[in-house]
């Protein structure tokens, strides 16, 4: 039995990056403050000292520059793991992601490809200034040619990050910063992979399926626990948003017939809409109730005095599960 350090999510990120950099000399880390400072969240702590400034690179404040040059490095044969410091600063780089990262394999019919990982801490609940609390996954999930991954715990963080780095295509790795330090768990030292495109049944049940990911898994689990005496929920942690693991979702919906999707991003055109539509297409006749969505609202993410109204709460999730169960 290998020893297992107890790590939180952000420690797991640096722990995994270190292991991957030792395994594969093509892996390099770049972004704002990722070097000497070890990242503003310390997700790259210690890497600069161990691997030097040719592999752990403090870049200028230049989001499109980070992603665009990382594409070039990936084309050259590197496995760049780039960091965008906060969700709300991702947008200048969307052009590079949408126009190029996701299209280069297709445009060149496989002559070129972009094995790039882009790490982005996302989401609210940390009393941050404006632009530090967004959940931009729908823009990304809507973009062909890139994969979108969101871990919710230390074990998956390591396994998914390894899969993302080894993946031959661009992967956006959204890190739930609200729970960066909330959970400590055993993280095996061994090299293991959590495959991309595979959801996890976080809790088995038979009455209602609750689908969520990332930092929303916490209120979801709390809500299901508070209801356990009367409603037997099944909880799915999607882990990968695109490609979506429809198989796991549909299997669960066939069993329960009732679904709640929970996400932090605004409701309109959020991933919940996509999941609900897919359920309609695939297993409509299994449904006993309309699919409910518990989401952020269609407003700019508020400053922190209002953020707890915006973020789906345990209470909102609980009521949605009850409504769906009682329908």
């Amino acid at each position: 039995m290998t020893k297992m350090p107890q790590l939180n999510i952000v420690q797991t990120v640096s722990f995994t990056l270190r292991q991957e950099m030792l395994r594969d000399p093509a892996v390099l880390v770049l972004g704002e403050d990722v070097g000497k400072n070890g990242g503003v969240f310390r997700a790259t702590e210690g890497l600069f000292n161990e691997f030097g400034d040719n592999r752990v690179i403090d870049t200028p404040l230049s989001e499109s520059g980070i992603v665009g040059t990382a594409i070039g490095l990936a084309l050259y044969g590197f496995r760049p793991v780039a960091e965008i410091q906060f969700d709300g600063f991702l947008y200048p780089a969307l052009d590079q992601l949408i126009s190029h990262a996701g299209r280069i394999r297709s445009r060149s019919r496989g002559r070129f490809h972009v094995p790039l990982v882009l790490r982005v801490p996302y989401g609210g609940g940390i009393r941050a200034p404006e632009h530090h609390s967004d959940s931009p996954e729908a823009f990304l999930a809507h973009t062909p040619g890139i994969k979108v991954v969101v871990p919710s715990n230390p074990y998956d963080t390591k396994g998914l990050l390894i899969s993302a780095i080894k993946d031959p295509d661009p992967v956006i790795f959204l890190e739930p910063k609200r729970i960066y330090r909330a959970i400590r768990a055993d993280v095996p030292e061994d090299d293991y992979a959590v495959p991309l495109g595979k959801a996890k049944v976080a809790k088995e049940g038979k009455d209602v399926t609750v689908i969520s990911w990332g930092s929303m898994m916490r209120p979801v689990m709390e809500a299901t626990e508070s209801l356990q005496e009367k409603i037997d929920t099944e909880v799915i942690d999607l882990r990968t948003l695109t490609p979506l693991d429809e198989e796991t979702v549909m299997r669960s919906v066939k069993k329960t017939g009732r679904v709640v999707v929970v996400h932090e991003a605004p409701k309109t055109c959020g991933l919940g809409a996509e999941i609900a539509a897919s359920i309609n297409e695939k297993v409509f006749l299994s449904l006993e109730a309309p699919v409910e969505r518990v989401t952020g609202f269609d407003v700019p993410f508020p400053l922190f005095k209002l953020e707890n109204y915006y973020l789906p709460s345990v209470n909102r999730v609980t009521r949605a599960i009850e409504r769906v169960a009682d329908f």
């Binding site: 594409i71 490095l73 050259y76 190029h100 060149s108 019919r109 490609p243």
Partner: protein
């Protein structure tokens, strides 16, 4: 305390061949007759390709096409200066440069004819795919050159873009990264005076585009972009500098877009025909021809042979491109990811 000057910059301008084909022998790069003929022949081939492409577009045999007419010296002079292991990252008007790098011409027809297989660049051609969003390729070129530097490979990257691209954020971010990490790259700006309908003077208040390089810690020079010797020499110099680890150079080639922006554009709506006439007198191919006449490299038979060969090459390329089987719809699903996810498989099957 009196104010002090902390930094001064000078922008040089290089011209070797004048409009009459007179050459400044002291500045002339070391090129032998074969090489000069080679460049002339590639320029003729590129111009011929261009004319045929415009014709095919009008006949509906290819789609929208962006002509490189007038920019042959800027493209061929620079691409020809590169070594076999160097790379080029084009924008969308670099047909002449692609041809100079040895991309099979039929692939250009395939690509502009609406088939991605035309941009499956052969393994032995060190050129990246066409980039249509203006200036975005600059960052890929910088990252790629950075990769070469990190791996200690002797390799230089040349990024093509136009005057319009210098207004894009990616241009500035790219030059900033390149200057900081001293990557082996040449930024080759073809200032063709027009970004669709917006003239150069409305693009930037900078007197030259070359001077923008100084803001990023490296040299920018301006050259007569219709003078193939000046373009070749400045590219060679920048290449040597990059090989020596001395970092990037910005070369502003002052040239002219003799055609419409693309086949979907009508430049007569915004451009004085007199301006086009003036620039026609500075045609890069005519200029080299005049030089070759002066030094005895040219004869009517030679010109005829070169033109016949070019016509024949382009004709064969059209034939090849049109013989390629139609792409199958499955291709667009097959090439999105290395491994096709279930939903793409489902979507693909829904078409059958």
């Amino acid at each position: 305390m009196p104010k002090q000057i902390v930094k001064r910059f000078e922008v040089s301008y290089l011209k070797i061949l004048d409009e009459e084909g007179k050459c400044d022998e002291q500045l002339k790069p070391s090129l032998n007759q074969d090489q000069i003929e080679d460049m002339f022949e590639i320029m003729i081939l590129a111009r011929t390709f261009d004319e045929i492409a415009l014709r095919l577009q009008r006949e509906g045999r290819i789609g929208t096409y962006a002509s490189a007419k007038g920019q042959e010296a800027a493209q061929v002079g620079s691409a020809y200066a590169l070594g076999k292991t160097d790379w080029m990252f084009p924008g969308f008007r670099e047909n002449a440069a692609y041809i100079a790098r040895g991309l099979p011409i039929e692939m250009l027809f395939e690509y502009w004819g609406g088939d991605e297989r035309g941009s499956k660049i052969p393994e032995d051609v060190n050129a990246f795919t066409t980039a249509i969003p203006v200036g975005t390729q600059i960052l890929h070129a910088v990252g790629f050159a950075w990769g070469a530097k990190l791996r200690k490979d002797k390799k230089v990257v040349l990024a093509y873009f136009g005057d319009g691209a210098t207004s894009e954020g990616d241009f500035h971010e790219g030059l900033n990264f390149a200057g900081l990490y001293k990557v082996p790259i040449i930024f080759l700006c073809q200032n063709n005076q027009w970004a669709i309908s917006v003239p150069r003077r409305m693009q930037s208040a900078s007197e030259t585009l070359a001077q923008k390089a100084f803001g990023y810690g490296f040299e920018g020079i301006q050259v007569d972009g219709n003078d193939v010797f000046a373009v070749y020499k400045s590219t060679r110099d920048a290449l040597e500098k990059a090989y020596q680890g001395l970092g990037p150079t910005l070369i502003e080639c002052v040239t002219y877009r003799m055609a419409d922006h693309t086949t979907s554009d009508d430049a007569s709506r915004y451009r004085d025909p007199k301006e086009v006439e003036e620039w026609t007198k500075k045609d890069p191919i005519d200029r080299l021809r005049k030089y070759m006449k002066r030094v005895g490299f040219w004869s009517e038979e030679y010109e005829k042979r070169v033109q016949v060969e070019a016509d024949e090459k382009v004709r064969r390329a059209v034939e090849k491109a049109e013989l390629v089987s139609k792409p199958v719809a499955a291709d667009m699903f097959a090439w999105t990811f290395e491994t096709m996810p279930p939903r793409l498989t489902e979507e693909m099957q829904s078409l059958q």
